[in-house]
Symmetry: C2
Subunit: 423 residues, 2 copies
């Protein structure tokens, strides 16, 4: 089937899915979850074949691990679909309503966004997650996974479609783009009139490629060069604890902190305990003043501590690793200026007990999430209470920050009259 | 100044404007309105020069009329700015807020979208309107009008900036891209990182060019191939009155009706009165059955009536003229299928007394606005009660339907903790 035929078919399926009520959609989702369980052996066998091919082609073990499925991961796919089934239906809500002077009753309704395409890298569990979110929102979805995961994705999609069909669902609302040809991505992200939004999920290169070349609307996610600004009133112990959490709890996450900004007045009080806490757990890349505050302290720094000199490029780098950059600032203005220059508009925190400083930071820092006295690691659909997460948008258009099901909706105005004409 | 320098300067001005409160923004807007009044002579002189050049270059009189300013039009620009000043501030609203299990207080705030670019054709009043909406929302704006209106736009922008400066406003938040070079548009719509949204306003060619080539988010507006579906239970007199209004009140508007769909069962009752009402006021382009229903009627059709045979391309055409296409349908399914195939997702109406038919139409027609028993001409920010209108979005992403100030906002999450770390 040509991609255009796939687009047409998804569009038609979406118009049917949009008419299903919540009970129908939930029943179909649960049947899809059951079908993944029932076809577990076939899915694991397909995955085994993908993994063998990837190993033979020399894929690194870290990436093999992302590709690999096992019983626990299959269970987690099943649970994920069930969690989404339990969420409220985002479509059909009346968001607002009013009567106009002409007597028209206007209702603003949430409706499904339409046909969405997700372009993602090797983790096959994304196939099940993305399908479930789209289906719940009433959107048809085109899945474009990596060629390395093709057999796994085919097996998962086949199970999902069989499950949907068994429960009166709209099995045509999920489709896998499977040629493995990179040009396919260009065709998908150019399909105006068919694809209502494209969502790249993966590394920086994939996301840039989609964002730069798309003709359809894109939701840009995932890049997080996050900062924590340590104000002079921060309180040293609490600040160290928050920074350690934001850096170490999951350094590969986009909401992990990458650079700490420290006000000059508290350098000598703050840097030695920070260094002591992170020694052996995380490399520091310090500017001259923050480095001097460690080496000039009364107590000798722990032998496990690694401190390097920060270079200009460290301010722009999303390390995604056990590395933390430290920069000294002379004022709140300088801290905010640094964040607005180098940040990726993701998650930014100030640690302070100064009310005016906290308000100023929140007002002036341009980011999806601004924190006062908490770890940046909380930027997450689950932590926010959205139940499931489509990703974290770092753009301002359509969706920003952790995206739940609502990001997969748009609005529609329903206007009821009794013969009104415009004078 | 290079365009990049203009972008930088707008970005900086926007960060200042975002901190102004409503009273400050309103005072600056009113001062800008006054400055337009004070510089009326200079603006009219600049416009006279534009008009003379355009006439000498052979511009058609209809377009000259769009370009032309006179006292009443200047008054209307001034009133428009005052109207916007009187609207609620869309930025700063707390849209929702909740406490998470970890004890974080999360607030979802409306904040300005950022720097917006408007690319428009010759009407110089758009310069003042767009500035006012953007400024009120806390957005900086790059105005890119047509070269034909360059002197007028310069004079208006100079007045606005002088007015802003006189009242402590942020005069750098409005800038005119003035080279007149068409390549300038490409540079604007490629400026990722500087321009948060581009809004093309004008003819189909301009809009397509922006939509097809943009690298920044675009809000697509204005194309309206709108339908009215006349159900067998519609009620003939009311239906004729609504259709006449939707076609004739302002045929050049995007919310005017272009095609009427008539159910076969009421053809003979409905077509003769429709033809009688529109005779001499509007040309009909009918399919065979609807034409036969006119010619086969007992009463002879009025001599002023012009009925032509509809061609396939008439179903796709936005006439923007005194022309109405008429198509016979055998079912609600056929009507909805026709609309979803040929419509531009703008405004679609059903005239009916059948509750199930009305609900089915609203659920299944994919458009920004779906009407029951009212004229499509009501799709308008003013009629909706938004006070001012940025345009009518025909896309599903970010904004849909009549756009008020809210379309110029995005969200920001403010999260307050007391030292929370993620477990």
């Amino acid at each position: 089937m040509s991609l255009t035929a796939v687009f047409e078919s998804l569009k038609k399926a979406q118009s049917l899915l949009a008419l299903q009520n919540r009970a129908q959609k939930d029943a179909a989702l649960l049947a899809a979850a059951d079908a993944i369980g029932a076809q577990r052996e076939a899915i694991l066998a397909a995955n085994k074949s993908d993994v063998e091919k990837a190993r033979a082609a020399g894929m690194k073990e870290a990436l093999i691990d992302r590709l690999l499925l096992h019983d626990r991961r299959v269970d987690s796919m099943i649970d994920g679909i069930k969690t989404v089934a339990a969420l409220d239906d985002p479509a059909g809500k009346i968001k607002s309503g009013w009567k106009t002077p002409a007597g028209l009753l206007i209702e603003q309704l949430a409706v499904p966004l339409g046909v969405v395409a997700i372009i993602y890298e090797s983790r096959p569990n994304v196939t099940a997650d993305a399908f479930a979110l789209a289906y719940k929102a009433g959107c048809a979805i085109l899945l474009r996974g990596s060629s390395a995961a093709l057999e796994s994705n085919r097996a998962i999609t086949a199970a999902v479609r069989a499950g949907l069909a068994s429960a009166g669902g709209v099995s045509g609302a999920v489709s896998l783009a499977g040629s493995g040809n990179r040009l396919e991505i260009d065709e998908i992200i150019s399909a105006r009139g068919y694809i209502d939004a494209a969502l790249p999920r993966g590394g920086r290169e994939l996301i840039s490629r989609v964002v730069e070349n798309a003709r359809v609307p894109v939701i840009q996610t995932g890049e997080g060069n996050c900062h924590i600004d340590v104000d002079e009133s921060a309180g040293v112990d609490r600040a160290v604890k928050i920074i350690a959490n934001a850096k170490l709890q999951k350094p590969g996450a986009c909401n992990a902190v990458e650079t700490v900004l420290v006000h000059r007045k508290i350098l000598s009080a703050f840097m030695p305990p920070l260094a002591a806490d992170l020694a052996g757990r995380c490399e520091l890349r310090c500017d001259a003043a923050s480095k001097a505050a460690i080496s000039g302290a009364e107590e000798t720094p722990p032998s496990a501590l690694v401190v390097k000199d920060a270079a200009e490029e460290d301010w722009s780098e999303e390390f995604l690793d056990f590395i933390l950059a430290v920069k000294t600032v002379d004022s709140a203005d300088e801290a905010i200026g640094h964040i607005n220059r180098y940040g990726t508009r993701h998650s930014e925190a100030i640690l302070t007990n100064d009310l005016a400083a906290a308000e100023d930071f929140c007002n002036r820092v341009d980011a999806a999430c601004v924190y006062i006295n908490a770890s940046t690691r909380f930027t997450d659909g689950g932590e926010f209470g959205f139940g499931a997460e489509l990703g974290i948008s770092t753009q301002k258009f359509h969706a920003r920050g952790p995206m739940g099901l609502e990001a997969l909706t748009t609005i529609k105005y329903r206007i009821r009259g009794q013969g009104q004409i415009r004078e």
